[in-house]
C-alpha cells in the first residue's frame, strides 16, 4: 500500500468539512452563505430569549405545589381513594396483557418493545409521583416482563386468536374492577361511573370511543357501498346527518334525549355512558368516510380477481378488500383517533369531569387561584404524551405493514 496517503481512509487529507461530519453539516445547512448565517444567528438568539423566559418561569415563578396537591384528582377524579388499588390492579394487568400479546403477536423483544417497557420507568421520573406510585409503576413493568416471559411457555397454537382472547378477557376484568361488584359491604363496592374522572376517564372515553366506533364505521362504509338501496340510503343519511352536527350538540342530545329512544322501563343510562354513546356515534361517521376513501383506492381488478377465484362477497371483503383498504388509511384513521381523544374534553361541558374538566375545577378552587398556567401546562403535556404515543405507534405500524407492498 504505497499510496495509502491518497486513499479515502486517510482522513488527514480530506477537507475539514469531511473530516468532521458535524462541521460539514453545519456549513451546508446553517452557514451556506452570509444571509443564511445571519438568519441562523437571529433564530438562535430568538430561541435563547424564549427558552430563558420559559425556563425562568418553570424553575422560579411557577407554583408547582398545585399539581401534587391535586394529583389524585387529575389522575382519577373522584374515584374513592380507598378503592384506588383497583385502578393500579387494572394497570398491572394492562402491563401483563401487553407483555403477553407482544410475545404472541410480535414474538421477539424488538426496538418498539424497549420503548414500551421504558414507559413505566420514564413515568417514575416524573417529580409529582409519590413513592407508592413509583413502586406501583415498577410492579407494572415487572408484570409486563413476566407476561412476555410466561407467554413464551404457553402451549398455544393459534397465537393471534389467543392474543385477541386475552385482550377481550382483560377488557371484561377491567370493567368489573372499575365498576365493582354489587353490594356495598363486599370486597369491591360499586363505584358509579360519574365518580370516574380525570385522566382515567379521558383515556376510558377515548379507548372505548375508538374500539366501538371502529367496527361501526367499517360497517357504515361498507353499507354506503352496498348494492342494496335501503342499506345504502340509511348509511348515507346516518353519515351525513352526524357529520353535519357538532359533537357538542350530540353530547347534549345524548344527555337529554337518549333515554327517550330507549324502550319504557329501560334502566336509566349512566351519564358517562350517554356521553360515550354520543362520542361513538360521532366518531363512527368519520371512520366510515375515511374507510370509504380506502375502499375506493382498491383497484377494480382486486374485486374481479377475488370473484374469479370463487371467493364470496363476504370472503373477499374480509381477506382481500378490507386489509388493503384499512392499510391505506392507517394515517388518516390514527389522525382521527387522536382528534377523538382530544375531543373527549368536550364532555366537561355536560358536567362530566374528564382531565380538562377536573383542571377547570382545580383552578376555580379559591386555594389555588392564579395557577391556571401550571395546571393547563400539565394537562397539555399529558394529552401530548398520549397523542404522540398514538402517532408514533401508527408510524411503526405503517412501516411494519408496508413490507413488500405493491
Amino acid at each position: 500500500m504505497t499510496t495509502a496517503a491518497g486513499t479515502p481512509s486517510d482522513r488527514s487529507v480530506l477537507p475539514i468539512t469531511e473530516r468532521y461530519p458535524l462541521v460539514g453539516w453545519l456549513r451546508r445547512n446553517l452557514f451556506s452563505d452570509v444571509f443564511n448565517s445571519l438568519l441562523t444567528l437571529a433564530a438562535l438568539a430568538f430561541i435563547i430569549v424564549i427558552a430563558r423566559i420559559f425556563l425562568r418561569w418553570v424553575f422560579f415563578t411557577a407554583e408547582w405545589g398545585v399539581i401534587p396537591a391535586n394529583f389524585n384528582l387529575l389522575m382519577r377524579g373522584q374515584y374513592p381513594a380507598a378503592e384506588a388499588w383497583r385502578l393500579w390492579l387494572v394497570i398491572y394487568l394492562l402491563g401483563a396483557v401487553v407483555g403477553i400479546c407482544w410475545k404472541l403477536i410480535v414474538g421477539q423483544f424488538s426496538g418498539a418493545a424497549r420503548v414500551l417497557i421504558a414507559i413505566p420507568f420514564v413515568l417514575m421520573l416524573i417529580p409529582f409521583f409519590s413513592m407508592g406510585s413509583r413502586l406501583n409503576l415498577l410492579i407494572t413493568a415487572v408484570a409486563s416482563g413476566a407476561g412476555f416471559f410466561i407467554a413464551g411457555y404457553l402451549p398455544i397454537q393459534r397465537r393471534g386468536r389467543a392474543a385477541a382472547y386475552f385482550l377481550i378477557a382483560y377488557l371484561v376484568v377491567m370493567l368489573v374492577l372499575l365498576r365493582g361488584l354489587p353490594g356495598e359491604e363486599g370486597p369491591m363496592p360499586p363505584v358509579q361511573p360519574i365518580l370516574w374522572g380525570g385522566l382515567l376517564l379521558s383515556l376510558l372515553l377515548a379507548f372505548f370511543g375508538i374500539t366501538l366506533s371502529f367496527p361501526l364505521g367499517v360497517l357504515l362504509a361498507l353499507g354506503r357501498q352496498s348494492k342494496l338501496p335501503a342499506v345504502r340510503i340509511m348509511s348515507v343519511i346516518y353519515i351525513e346527518f352526524i357529520r353535519g352536527v357538532p359533537l357538542i350538540s350530540l353530547l347534549f342530545m345524548g344527555q337529554v334525549m337518549l333515554q327517550l329512544f330507549l324502550p319504557d322501563g329501560f334502566p336509566l343510562v349512566d351519564r358517562v355512558l350517554r356521553a360515550l354513546v354520543a362520542i361513538t356515534l360521532f366518531s363512527a361517521a368519520y371512520t366510515a368516510e375515511n374507510v370509504r376513501g380506502g375502499l375506493q383506492s382498491i383497484p377494480r381488478g382486486q374485486y374481479e380477481a377475488a370473484q374469479a377465484v370463487g371467493l364470496s362477497a363476504y370472503q373477499s371483503t374480509i381477506h382481500i378488500i378490507m386489509p388493503q383498504a384499512l392499510r391505506a388509511v392507517i394515517p388518516v384513521l390514527v389522525g382521527q383517533f387522536i382528534s377523538l381523544f382530544k375531543d373527549t374534553t368536550l364532555v366537561a361541558l355536560v358536567g362530566i369531569f374528564d382531565l380538562l374538566g377536573i383542571a377547570r375545577t382545580i383552578i376555580s378552587n379559591p386555594d389555588w387561584l392564579g395557577t391556571q398556567q401550571e395546571v393547563f401546562i400539565v394537562v397539555a403535556v399529558l394529552f401530548w404524551i398520549f397523542s404522540y404515543t398514538m402517532s408514533y405507534a401508527s408510524r411503526r405500524l405503517e412501516r411494519r405493514l408496508g413490507v413488500g407492498e405493491r
Binding site: A305, Q307, A308, V309, G310, G404, R406
Partner: protein, 257 residues
C-alpha cells in the same frame, strides 16, 4: 379436415360440450358490446379469440364467469346455467380459473398466500394440504423459490405465472385468459406462453384472448375472430392463416401478421 365451424361441430357432436354460449348479447348503456354470440367449446379444447381492440373479446370471456352480466341469450358452463342465482355463479367461478392482463395478484399477501387463499376458504382445504398443492403448482410454473415473496417483488412474467398458479390451485375445469401477455415486457412473454402451452398439453379446456399469433397457430384447436361485438369466423388455425373467408378477417390478419 373441417373447413368451417358448423362442419367441425357436427364432427365432434358426441364430445362433451363444456361451454355453450347461445345468442349472447350484452349492452353497456346504449352501446351493444356483444351481438348474438354463439360458441360451443368442447372439454380439453383450446380456443383462441382474436380481433381488433374494442371488438368485445374480453367482454365475451368475462361474461363466461360473470365478471360481466349478459343481458340476453344463454350461457351454460359444465352443465350449470349462468343465471342470477348466486349459487350457480359461485359454482361456475370455482370451476373456472381466470388470468388477467394486469395479473391482479393480491399485493398484501405473499405468493404462497395468494395461491392458498381460495383453496382454504372456498374448498375448505387443510392449510398444509393447500400449501403442498401450491408448492407443486409453483414448481410447475417454474418459480418455487419465490413462494414467500410479495407480488410487488416479482417481475411481470413471474407475477403472471403466479396468477396462473393461483387459478390452477382451485383445480378448475376451464381456464380463461384475458390478454395474459399484453402487459408484459417482450422478453417475459415467452415464459408465460410456455406455461400456457404446457397447460394446454395436459388437456385443460382453455379460452384465450390474445394477440400472440404464434401461440394461436401452434396451440389453438380453433380460432375465433371477433369484430364489432360479433363472432365473424370460427375455424382451425390452418383455415385461418391460409384460407380466411371473411373480408374483415383477412384485413385484420394482414395488419397483424
Amino acid at each position: 379436415m373441417a373447413e368451417n365451424d358448423t362442419a367441425e361441430m357436427a364432427d365432434n357432436g358426441t364430445a362433451e360440450e363444456i361451454i355453450i354460449c347461445q345468442d349472447v348479447c350484452k349492452w353497456f348503456g346504449d352501446f351493444q358490446a356483444l351481438k348474438d354470440c354463439n360458441l360451443r367449446v368442447q372439454a380439453q379444447e383450446v380456443v383462441v379469440i382474436i380481433g381488433p381492440s374494442g371488438s368485445g373479446k374480453s367482454t365475451f370471456i368475462r361474461c363466461i364467469n360473470r365478471l360481466e352480466e349478459h343481458q340476453a341469450g344463454d350461457i351454460i358452463v359444465d352443465g350449470i346455467p349462468l343465471t342470477r342465482d348466486v349459487r350457480n355463479i359461485e359454482q361456475i367461478r370455482s370451476e373456472t380459473g381466470m388470468v388477467f392482463q394486469q395479473f391482479n395478484l393480491f399485493p398484501h399477501l405473499t405468493v404462497l398466500e395468494n395461491i392458498t387463499l381460495a383453496p382454504i376458504h372456498v374448498r375448505k382445504m387443510r392449510k398444509d394440504e393447500a400449501r403442498d398443492t401450491a408448492m407443486g403448482l409453483l414448481n410447475r410454473v417454474g418459480i418455487p423459490e419465490q413462494a414467500d415473496k410479495y407480488p410487488g417483488q416479482l417481475s411481470g412474467g413471474q407475477q403472471q405465472r403466479v396468477a396462473i398458479a393461483r387459478s390452477l390451485a382451485m383445480s378448475p375445469k376451464i381456464m380463461l385468459f384475458d390478454e395474459p401477455t399484453s402487459a408484459l415486457d417482450p422478453e417475459m412473454i415467452k415464459e408465460v406462453l410456455d406455461v400456457m402451452q404446457e397447460l394446454a398439453e395436459t388437456g385443460m379446456t382453455m379460452l384465450v384472448v390474445t394477440h400472440e399469433m404464434g401461440f394461436a397457430r401452434e396451440v389453438a384447436h380453433r380460432i375465433v375472430f371477433m369484430d364489432g361485438g360479433e363472432i365473424m369466423e370460427v375455424g382451425t388455425p390452418e383455415h385461418f392463416f391460409t384460407n380466411a373467408q371473411h373480408e374483415r378477417t383477412k384485413l385484420f390478419l394482414s395488419q397483424i401478421l
